[in-house]
């Protein structure tokens, strides 16, 4: 089933960015034929449940505003929960507080400056954003990227996936008051950030990517260190995860909370682990040459527990991938700096920890003429708004955290 991820206008024609069966492509068409086209227009201001068209009303219903400053969400954004007390009837998510206008600022800037801005969109998806952006530019300028660079990028992407997933699971554990588990996981999270620093000189893998290149090539010793640390994380995490899955009251909080079925998820345009938790085996990495042995993790139920399980499964996959790739890595001593001058148009995508990130760029004389960014958090938030209906206030953190969305990612 085709999922609409974005739409941009070029020469007066509407072009749609679509994803189907793990492949991203552009097609001419009409966005309004898709259920979720409303999201594309409103995402700078707010995100709503796209599947329910009517506004609910009633005398006793009030707007329980959660935000913009709360210690629960931790980001500048508002959840408007419409309720008559305890039961959540409808949600509207206000993203405008975190709108920094980064994609607008990219226009007319130099390609390398725009790459910096793409990292700034969402710090914890920095490498995903910069990879998708540089792939789009490489596509536009027809730059050939060496296999070494692609491999190093993949390792960085997987390291990012590991710490993000660890963070999400620890937040879920914290919401369920599993303080011991949460503290252990936060410890692992910090460990993985340190690993990132060894790998790329930045805890969040910033300033690592460049157009057609990577800015740092880790030394043998550093790669060995990364591999050892990854091994250690794997050992500890597998024990923690096994123990956590035997805790009845932890599982019970997540089980059947905010259930989403595959059809609804695809209509919303959901991608990434949240979609795979609904039973759809779709992953952009499956068609990537860098991942020859990838096994797609998926689950059937589509609830918070499934999403947590899929993320845990992906952590194991990623840890395995990082170790194996580092072991097999045989880097050439020198890389050639590609020439990034010219004009063209291209699309680039990447499987971020929460779903597909797509960039479409138009370049004119090494300057960005137009850019369109499609971020997974927009669709994730719409999925939150849809699946949370009928749940109660106390389920709120489980729903929100399990989708792993960020306001900074959605608002850009």
């Amino acid at each position: 089933m085709k999922k609409l991820l974005g739409a941009y206008r070029q020469n007066g024609e509407e072009h749609l960015i679509l994803q189907e069966n793990g492949k991203v492509f552009v097609q001419e068409g009409n966005a309004s034929e898709f259920e979720n086209s409303v999201l594309l227009e409103s995402r700078n201001e707010y995100v709503k449940d796209v599947l329910s068209k009517e506004e609910i009303s009633g005398n006793d219903i009030f707007d329980f505003r959660y935000g913009p400053v709360t210690s629960g969400i931790g980001e500048a954004g508002i959840f408007h929960l419409y309720t008559y007390g305890e039961r959540i009837l409808s949600v509207k998510i206000d993203t405008s507080y975190k709108r920094r206008g980064l994609d607008e600022r990219m226009i007319n800037s130099d390609i390398n400056d725009a790459l910096k801005l793409s990292e700034e969109i969402c710090g914890n998806f920095a490498i995903s954003h910069s990879t998708a952006f540089s792939r789009a530019v490489e596509n536009a300028l027809k730059i050939k990227v060496t296999r070494d660079v692609e491999l190093l990028r993949s390792i960085a992407l997987e390291l990012e996936r590991i710490y993000n997933h660890l963070y999400v699971i620890s937040r879920l554990a914290q919401a369920a008051s599993q303080q011991v588990l949460a503290s252990h996981l936060m410890g692992l999270f910090e460990d993985s950030l340190v690993t990132n620093k060894i790998f790329s000189d930045s805890r969040y893998l910033m300033n690592f990517n460049a157009i057609g290149d990577v800015l740092k090539i880790p030394s043998r010793k550093e790669l060995k260190d990364v591999s050892d640390r990854v091994k250690k994380i794997e050992n500890i995490f597998s024990k923690l995860y096994e123990n956590s899955m035997s805790s009845g009251n932890y599982i019970d909080r997540l089980h059947l909370t905010a259930t989403l079925d595959a059809k609804e998820a695809e209509l919303i345009g959901l991608t990434g682990p949240s979609l795979r938790a609904c039973g759809v085996k779709e992953d952009l990495r499956a068609y990537d040459e860098m991942y020859p042995e990838i096994e797609i993790t998926s689950d059937e139920e589509g609830d918070s527990l499934s999403r947590m399980e899929v993320r845990a499964g992906e952590i194991f996959e990623s840890l395995k991938f990082v170790r194996k790739t580092i072991d097999d890595l045989n880097l050439a001593d020198e890389t050639t700096s590609p020439n990034s001058i010219g004009s063209g148009e291209g699309i680039g995508w990447c499987e971020s920890p929460s779903g597909t990130i797509v960039y479409h760029v138009e370049i004119e004389n090494s300057k960005i003429k137009d850019v369109y960014v499609s971020t997974p958090s927009v669709f994730g938030m719409s999925a939150i708004a849809h699946s949370i209906v009928g749940n109660i206030f106390t389920d709120f953190p489980f729903v929100v955290e399990s989708f792993g969305v960020n306001f900074s990612d959605a608002a850009r």
């Binding site: 009633g58 935000g67 709360t70 008559y84 007390g85 009837l89």
Partner: protein, 623 residues
């Protein structure tokens, strides 16, 4: 005796001056001051008027003895303040209203001073009919008024049967010093229970109280239900005090208290909540009365008389506090023109400080906050119920325990519902609303008077006990001088001293308060923290949302349903007893339709004529 005649004269003047509404209500106010004097006079030496012989065996007379003096005292406080309140409040309603008002007061007065059944019934019927007309004063309240009248007539008919059986037994209709049997007691109890709004005969009360004008609500809720209690006390003195009656009273009373409190907790209407609170309080009153009767039949004289004074204190507390609550809430309702708890937020700033404080004081009293009078009443209720272990029979003990559990739950729920009411109305945020200005001098005055009564009678409650003739329950212990300690039994079982509690709490809080006031200038004052931006009106937590969790937990009892119709979402909560009555209504309609088509298909006037002829014939035949 002279006070009674004066009172009659002023009520009559009130009826005559109805075209000058203010004057008429002033007459009612003066008229209801005299019953108070009559009560004070009658408290020590009872007096009666001359006997007027209608015909043989039908002797009419009025008078005041100790029992009626106590009830008269309690009722006259409400009458006086409600009449005072009506001087300004009544200007919002028609010119007919003062007639009904004065007449209803007269009817109630007659009930309390009646010495024979005929006078009693006349008073009863006058009060019922004119209360019905008073409820009708509010627009679109026909259904509720009619329901009130239907239950009122059930009550009158049962009372007629009861008095008929009394006449058969004694060949006299005197209600002082005669003797009754169980039929009399049962029928009279049903009559009075309907008036008190005891479960399952409470449904009329909710609609009538919430739809009527607020002075009428106060009037229906406090003094009119007091008539029911008075009737019960009177009837028990005639029929002896059988144990079965006590057990039934405890069970019905306990359940009624629980049911009232439960429904009050879920109420959304501004006046529905106090109405259910009335059901709860009358339930407690009935239960303690039942306890008194059981104790009497088990020869526990001390416990019996303690339960009796508990009943009286509860009655006093309910009467004054509920009048106050209805008045203050009615004041806010009239000023803001809204009738749900949610829409009457911010009485303190929008309407005025006096109604807000009045709502607060009455709410605190109903949630048993020491040292208010409600606290004393509820303490005594529990204390009396705790002593049920003294009963020899296991059935008595079990029923007392059952009632005790329900009443304790009711007290907790009452605190919950009163927090809801006062928290939203008196202390809530007004959203910049401004009430329309209505003339409210006497409204404020009577609210102040009643607030003072609620506070001061709590403080001076030992004197009240003494005045009612229960000085044996006053003592001095633990350094509290006599008579400021109220004891619940002899030998001592439990003690409380509202007076000294006030003094101790006052001292403990006075120093911190002084300290706080001194530092007040340095305190940083900001608006409530709401995530960084100001709350809009639509973002406030609503009153139904406050009680939703309780409704959800007890969804079987409330028959709570979360309704989705189109894009509308709401929670429906029902008092399931109304389902029974609506079923009954439907069945009656079907049967009536069937009969009118088959059996009685003549013209309605012929049936009316037939009924009238038969009535006149019977009247002469019996004579």
């Amino acid at each position: 005796m002279i006070y009674i005649y004066f009172s009659f004269i002023f009520f009559a003047l009130g009826v005559l001056t109805t075209f000058y509404r203010k004057v008429s209500y002033i007459m009612a106010t003066i008229g209801s001051a005299f019953p108070f004097l009559a009560a004070v006079a009658g408290m020590h030496t009872s007096f009666t008027s001359n006997v007027f012989v209608l015909f043989n065996g039908f002797n009419l007379s009025v008078g005041v003895d100790h029992t009626s003096a106590i009830f008269l005292l309690i009722a006259s406080i409400s009458w006086f303040t409600i009449s005072l309140y009506s001087i300004d409040y009544g200007m919002n309603y028609s010119k007919k209203m003062p007639v009904f008002f004065n007449a209803a007061l007269f009817g109630m007065f007659l009930v309390l001073i009646a010495r024979d059944a005929l006078t009693f019934i006349s008073g009863w019927e006058i009060a019922t009919v004119f209360s019905y007309l008073l409820i009708m004063e509010h627009k679109h309240s026909f259904k509720e008024a009619f329901e009130f009248l239907a239950f009122g007539e059930i009550s009158t008919v049962s009372l007629l049967v009861a008095f008929a059986s009394l006449y058969l037994e004694n060949h006299s209709l005197a209600i002082v010093g005669s003797h009754g049997n169980w039929i009399f007691l049962l029928m009279a109890t049903i009559a009075f229970m309907a008036k008190m709004g005891i479960y399952p005969l409470h449904t009329w009360l909710i609609g009538a109280h919430s739809r009527a004008p607020s002075n009428v609500s106060a009037f229906l809720s406090a003094p009119l239900t007091l008539m029911g209690v008075y009737g019960l006390v009177r009837v028990l003195s005639i029929a002896g005090q059988p144990e079965w009656w006590g057990v039934l009273a405890m069970i019905f009373g306990g359940f009624s208290a629980f049911w009232g409190a439960l429904q009050a907790a879920a109420a959304k209407g501004l006046k529905i909540l106090p109405a259910y609170s009335t059901v709860e309080n009358n339930g407690m009153i009935l239960a303690t009365l039942g306890l008194s009767v059981v104790a009497y039949s088990a020869n526990l004289a001390v416990l019996s008389s303690f339960a009796m004074i508990t009943t009286l204190i509860l009655l006093f507390a309910h009467n004054t506090t509920k009048s106050l609550l209805f008045m203050a809430v009615g004041h806010a309702k009239e000023a803001l023109g809204e009738d749900t708890i949610d829409n009457v937020r911010g009485v303190w700033t929008a309407v005025g400080k006096i109604p807000a404080i009045s709502i607060l004081i009455s709410g605190l009293s109903f949630s048993a906050f020491p040292p208010l009078i409600g606290f004393l009443g509820e303490w005594m209720t529990l204390e009396a119920l705790f002593q049920s272990y003294k009963f020899p029979s296991i059935l008595d003990r079990l029923s007392a325990v059952f009632a005790g559990i329900l009443i304790a739950l009711a007290m907790g729920l009452a605190a919950f519902s009163m927090v809801k009411l006062t928290g939203y109305t008196a202390l809530g945020y007004d959203h910049g609303k401004k009430a329309r200005t209505i003339p409210s001098f006497t409204m404020r005055l009577s609210e102040i008077i009643l607030s003072l009564i609620v506070v001061l009678t709590g403080f001076f409650s030992p004197y009240m006990l003494k005045y009612f003739g229960y000085g044996t329950f006053l003592s001095g212990l633990f350094g509290v001088p006599k008579p400021f300690l109220i004891v619940s039994s002899h030998p001592v079982f439990g003690v409380v001293s509202p007076t000294f509690l006030t003094i101790v709490i006052g001292t403990l809080f006075l120093f911190p308060l002084a300290f706080y006031l001194q530092k007040l200038r340095k305190v940083k004052r900001v608006s409530a923290w709401n995530g960084g931006i100001a709350l809009k009106e639509k973002e406030y937590f609503t009153a139904p949302a406050y009680s939703f969790t309780l409704e959800y937990i007890m969804r079987k009892v409330y028959s709570m349903k979360e309704i989705k119709v189109g894009n509308k979402r709401y929670v429906s909560v029902k008092d399931v007893t109304t389902l029974f009555y609506s079923g009954l209504k439907r069945a009656t309609e079907i049967v009536a339709k069937f009969l009118s088509l088959t059996l009685m298909n003549g013209h309605i006037y012929s049936y009316v004529l037939y009924t009238m002829i038969m009535f006149i014939l019977l009247f002469f035949l019996i004579k």
